[in-house]
Every structure is written in structure tokens, then in C-alpha cells.
Symmetry: none
Subunit: 235 residues, 2 copies
DNA sequence: ACAAATGTGAACGCCATGTGAACGACGGCG
DNA sequence: CGCCGTCGTTCACATGGCGTTCACATTTGT
């Protein structure tokens, strides 16, 4: 665990895992980024600078599950970590599917040092210049990912944590059908072990809070799972 | 200049230069993206679809100056082209500096096809969720495998699970004849033990839902089984 | 014309889902 | 320290959709 002395305008970058891979360390140091390695979510909060993390570089080729779990945790914080850059091997490209929300950019490993540097620079440029209110919008539904608030047809929804996460995931992939097992692994977490009926109950409560008029935003596809919204082509 | 035949939910993607590199063409086609190659800004406006470009993939390793000029032009338009993906060689990484505003993401060339596909998917997801869906198409019939929805001549079909699975399997092998036993093992499952007449009933209900006009999409081959669509050697 | 194969209508019965309620973990508060 | 409210999870029960089956009608091939 160490930090580059080169003065950087940004806050230190979170690096996973701990200890960080040698080539990653070298590139970060040469590029003048301050960084700190952490091993898990606990370390991420424990070693967080007072002014928050400046970003994150998560290396997923040694411990994929831990890496994705950390990404999920970083995004769920009160102050989400700004740019999350994923470092994966070519064989893991398939794992990115349905995890679009977990990262801002990725880089294949082994990487060209200057490529990683260019990606970091670009991501920091984007997050510094463009202040984009992170919203998920689908017709009458609006989710504000920063404030954890939800609006249905302008009316505020009072959602619990899990309800919000489930609705967020579904609304981010409108029209697509998910099995209960998929929802459990993507929303609850990879290592979740529990009954699939839990999903049903959360769907029921979401429908109730959406109100009679919008309850059908979440449709059940019998013997498959659930789907949010209409398909893009249905008319 | 050409376009992928796979129907995509998104608008066609602008590709530079014209003609487009062979490996890029192959990846775009395999990934199911519709695209059009243009040689300059003039071509970009001239060949623009009515609903605008769905994005852009700009290859900069042959004509860097023309590529960056096009990027700048695309961003200056009244309706800026949504995700701009830059394709550059490793030696050109330095050129990216001070051009952060010209692109949304980049990919090193020569590229891993699946990396380019993943980047395109991620960028399209960020810009509004328009991703190309897995489709099974046969003339008037379209099956969306992600949403579990079916269209016949533009009209939505309300199918049950087994009906959908059976139709999907048949439509995936148009023209081929399957015995009831084969269908039972491939659609219902290997260990299935039940009457073969079950297939008949499902075929009947499918025909009914397809409507009088399209009922003959599923043809019965006497004393053999069923076939979807026209036979390959029939006139 | 006869038998085999397939279409047709209806009924049965299981299982996936909806529904209500309770349990237990966790955190705040007096 | 103990009470209480919240929230995620789980269980038991109800129900209705849907897959399956059967009996009978119709068609097809020889």
C-alpha cells in the first residue's frame, strides 16, 4: 500500500485487490495518480479519504466475484465512487453482460500502459466536466440514482432499499425478462443463497406502491420470471 | 457500403471510412448492428437515416486527420451523434490527448471482436438503453428471445410458455421436419415421458393464435411430424 | 372402403404465482 | 438494557392458468 507523490488534482484512486498487481501499480505511479489498495468493501470505507475516493480501478482477473461485489458496493454507497474502471481478461468479456451499471469503462488485461492511462484520463475528464444527473427514466417512472428517490407520474414513491434496487435493475433493462435466479444474483448479489420466492414478495410490494394504475409496469411471464415495461416493439 | 440484415432496435451506426475495414464490418454484422459507411461529413449528412444516426464508429488508423475532423463535425451538429467510438492503433494513443471531447470511448486496433462488441453494447446502454435484441426472424414472424414476445405480421401474439418454446424451436430450424418424439425430447426435455399427441394440441393452439392467414406456417407432414415454413426444395 | 393418422373439443389436475401473515435481524431511542 | 418500528425473508394457503390427456370427428393414403 502506497501513494504517488506526483501532485494530482484528484483525490486518491481506490485500487482492488490488495496488494495491487505490479503492472497496475507501475502504470498508476508513472501516470501520477495517487492510489490506495483495498481488499474488500470494508477496506473501501475504512481507508476512504476525508474528501472521498477520486475513482476506482478494480482488477477482476484474480477474484472476479470479489471484484464485482466491490463494484456493486461502490455504486450503492451514499456517495457513489465516481469513475469505476474494470480490469478484466479477454476470457471474462462475457461476464460484462447485465453488469453494465457496475462500471464506467473497462480495459483488457494484460494492458498497454498508455491505454490504461488514456482511459483513466478520459474517464476523469468526463466525470469532472460533465455533471450528468444520473437518472433512469422509463415513461411514467423516474429514478434518481444519486438521491435514491423515485417518481411515478410525478408522485414520489417511498421505497425501501431492496425495493429500489430491484426496480432500478428492472428499469435499466426495460422489456427484458429475468428469471428469479438471475434477479437474485444480479440484484441481491452473486453469493446469495435464499428462496426464489423472495423476489415475488418484493415484486408484489413494488406493484402495490406503484399503485393500481402502474402495477402492470412489472409483468410476470409465467414459468420464466418478470419483465419491466412493454417491449420496445410492441404496439 | 452495406447493412446488416439482422433487425436491430437501434438506428444504423455511422462507420468511417468508406469502404469500412473488413474486420470492423465482420464484427458489426456478427453483433447484429445495422451500419452505413461514409467517407466524410458530407456523406454523414447525405446518408443520414430519417431518425438520425444511432451512433458512430470512427476508424482513425488509416486517415487520422479525416477521422478527427469527422468526429468534430458529428459533435457540432444540431443533433449530435450519440455514442462516438474511436478505433485507433496503439501508436496513436498520444493523439487522444486534448481531444477528450471528440469521443465517448475508444478501442485499440487490431481489436478483439468481443471487446469491440462489449464497448458498443456498453455505450449504447449508457446512452439510453437501446441494445440490439436476440431475435428469431422468419418472414412475417418475429420472436424476441429476451422479452419472450412474439409478433406475427406486426401483431403481438399472446403465447404461453410451452407454445412459445415450441414455436421458437421450430422457427429456429425453418423448413426442417421434426417427429413428435424429437420435438418432445428437444423442446420438452430429454427425460420427458408422455403421449406424443401433446404436440398436436400445442400445434393446434399455435395455429389458432397465428390466425387463419398464417396457420399454414406450421405444416403437418403426414406420418412424419411437423415443419415450420416452406420446405427448402419446394417452389 | 378400410385403417391409420391427424384435427377438434372438452375435461382433469398439477403447479406456478398471488396473497396474507409471521418470524427474526437490525438499529434507534428512552 | 429493553422496547419498538422497519425491513428482508420465509411459510402456509388459495387459485387459476395451462399443460396434459382422452374421446370422438375428420382427413389421407392405399
Amino acid at each position: 500500500m502506497s501513494a504517488a507523490d506526483t501532485a494530482a488534482a484528484t483525490e486518491p484512486v481506490l485500487v482492488f485487490p490488495d496488494p495491487a498487481p505490479a503492472d497496475l501499480v507501475q502504470t498508476l505511479d508513472l501516470s501520477g495518480f495517487a492510489w490506495k489498495a483495498v481488499g474488500d468493501e470494508l477496506g473501501a470505507t475504512r481507508h476512504e479519504p476525508d474528501s472521498g475516493w477520486g475513482g476506482a480501478v478494480v482488477c477482476a482477473d484474480t477474484d472476479p466475484e470479489g471484484a464485482f461485489a466491490l463494484c456493486r458496493a461502490l455504486r450503492r454507497r451514499d456517495a457513489p465512487v465516481a469513475p469505476v474502471l474494470l480490469l478484466i481478461s479477454g476470457a471474462q468479456l462475457g461476464e460484462l453482460e447485465l453488469r453494465e451499471d457496475l462500471y464506467d469503462d473497462f480495459c483488457l488485461s494484460p494492458f498497454h500502459p498508455r491505454e490504461l492511462e488514456a482511459r483513466l484520463r478520459h474517464q476523469f475528464w468526463r466525470s469532472g466536466g460533465g455533471v450528468q444527473a444520473e437518472l433512469v427514466e422509463y415513461e411514467p417512472l423516474v429514478l434518481n440514482l444519486e438521491t435514491y428517490q423515485a417518481l411515478i407520474a410525478g408522485r414520489p414513491l417511498d421505497l425501501t432499499y431492496m425495493e429500489y434496487e430491484l426496480l432500478k435493475f428492472l428499469a435499466q433493462h426495460p422489456g427484458k425478462v429475468f428469471t428469479r435466479e438471475t434477479l437474485l444474483s444480479r440484484v441481491w448479489g452473486y453469493e446469495y443463497y435464499g428462496g426464489a420466492r423472495t423476489v415475488d414478495v418484493h415484486v408484489r410490494r413494488l406493484r402495490a406502491k406503484l399503485g393500481e394504475e402502474y402495477a402492470n409496469l412489472i409483468q410476470t411471464v409465467r414459468s420464466v420470471g418478470y419483465r419491466f415495461g412493454q417491449s420496445r416493439w410492441a404496439g
